[in-house]
C-alpha cells in the first residue's frame, strides 16, 4: 500500500549564513533533511495564509498562564 508520491521539481535556494544555520539546526533537531524542513515550513505557511485570508488570526497561548499573543505574519 504505497502512497502516491507526487512528482517533484528541484530548485536552488539562496540563504544567508544565519538562515542556513537555522535550517541546519531545525534539520538536526527534527531529524529530517533540510528539504523536508522546508517542505514542512511551506505547508504551514500556506495553511496560515489561507486562514488569514479567511479573516482568522494566529495566536500562541502560554501553556500555564494561558496568556495569548498574536503572531504577526508579514
Amino acid at each position: 500500500m504505497q502512497t502516491g508520491t507526487p512528482s517533484r521539481k528541484t530548485m536552488t535556494l539562496n540563504l544567508t549564513e544565519a538562515e542556513m544555520q537555522a535550517l541546519d539546526e531545525l534539520s538536526a533537531t527534527k531529524d529530517i533533511s533540510k528539504t523536508a524542513v522546508l517542505r514542512q515550513a511551506l505547508r504551514l505557511y500556506q495553511m496560515i495564509e489561507v486562514r488569514i485570508a479567511r479573516g482568522e488570526k494566529l495566536f500562541f497561548e502560554h501553556d500555564t498562564t494561558k496568556q495569548k499573543a498574536e503572531l504577526m505574519v508579514l
Binding site: 502512497t3 502516491g4 531529524d31
Partner: protein, 205 residues
C-alpha cells in the same frame, strides 16, 4: 491529483481476499458519493439500535462526521492528504492525515515530526459494532499502514499520532500496538495515541 494502487481486503462472507484500490487524493465527487452511501446506512442502523434498545454508548460515535465537508475543508491545504479504499464500486474506508506542524509527545520521540491521523473510518457496513453482517475486514489496518508509509515517505520514520473515539481505543492500543498517552483535555477529553518508529515497523510486518 489522485493516484491509485492495489490493496486487498478480506471479504468476511466469502472468506477470501478481494482486490481493492487505495486512492491517494480523494476528490470532491468521491467524498460526496461516499457520504451519500454511508449516511443513510448509518441512520438506518442507528434507528435499528434505538428500536432494539441498544444503549446509546454503543451507537457509532462518529455518526456525525461529514466526509464531504472534511474533503472540502482539507482540499485548500498542502498539509492535508486524504485517502480512501474503494472496492466493488463503493468507498470502504476514508482517512484524513495532517503532514505538517504536529510533533511527538512520547518521551523517546519528543519534538520529532509525525503524521497526524485526523480522521479515520471504515464504511459503516464494515463495522462489526454497527452492521449485523459486516462485509470487509482489514480496512482500518490498511489505512493505518498507509499513514505509516506516508510518515516514512515524509522522513518521519513511521511516527504517527491520533486522538481516538472511545469505541476505537482498544483497537489502537491492542491491535495497532500504539502507546496510549491518556486523555487529552484539549481535544474533547479523547485518548491520545502515538506510534514510534519501532512500533510502526512492528505493525508493518
Amino acid at each position: 491529483m489522485s493516484t491509485r494502487s492495489t490493496v486487498h481486503l478480506h471479504d468476511r462472507k466469502a472468506e477470501r481476499l478481494v482486490e481493492a484500490t487505495l486512492v491517494d487524493g480523494i476528490t470532491r465527487a468521491e467524498a460526496e458519493k461516499a457520504e451519500a452511501e454511508w449516511k443513510p446506512y448509518l441512520e438506518e442502523q442507528v434507528k435499528r439500535m434505538e428500536a432494539e434498545g441498544v444503549p446509546k454508548d454503543r451507537w457509532p460515535q462518529h455518526r456525525h462526521w461529514d466526509w464531504r465537508q472534511k474533503q472540502e475543508a482539507a482540499d485548500a491545504y498542502l498539509a492535508y492528504r486524504m485517502f480512501g479504499i474503494e472496492c466493488q464500486s463503493q468507498m470502504q474506508g476514508l482517512m484524513l492525515v495532517l503532514t505538517a506542524g504536529k510533533d511527538c509527545r512520547i518521551e523517546s520521540q519528543k519534538g520529532k515530526p509525525m503524521a497526524y491521523v485526523h480522521f479515520l473510518a471504515a464504511a459503516p457496513w464494515n463495522l462489526a459494532t454497527v452492521a449485523p453482517d459486516p462485509r470487509f475486514s482489514l480496512v482500518g489496518s490498511i489505512l493505518v499502514a498507509t499513514a505509516i508509509n506516508l510518515s516514512i515517505e515524509e522522513e518521519f520514520q513511521g511516527r504517527i499520532g491520533l486522538h481516538s473515539l472511545p469505541q476505537a481505543d482498544e483497537w489502537y492500543r491492542n491491535s495497532c500496538g500504539m502507546t496510549d498517552l491518556g486523555r487529552d483535555h484539549a481535544v474533547h477529553d479523547l485518548r491520545y495515541f502515538e506510534m514510534t518508529p519501532e512500533q510502526a515497523s512492528e505493525f508493518l510486518k
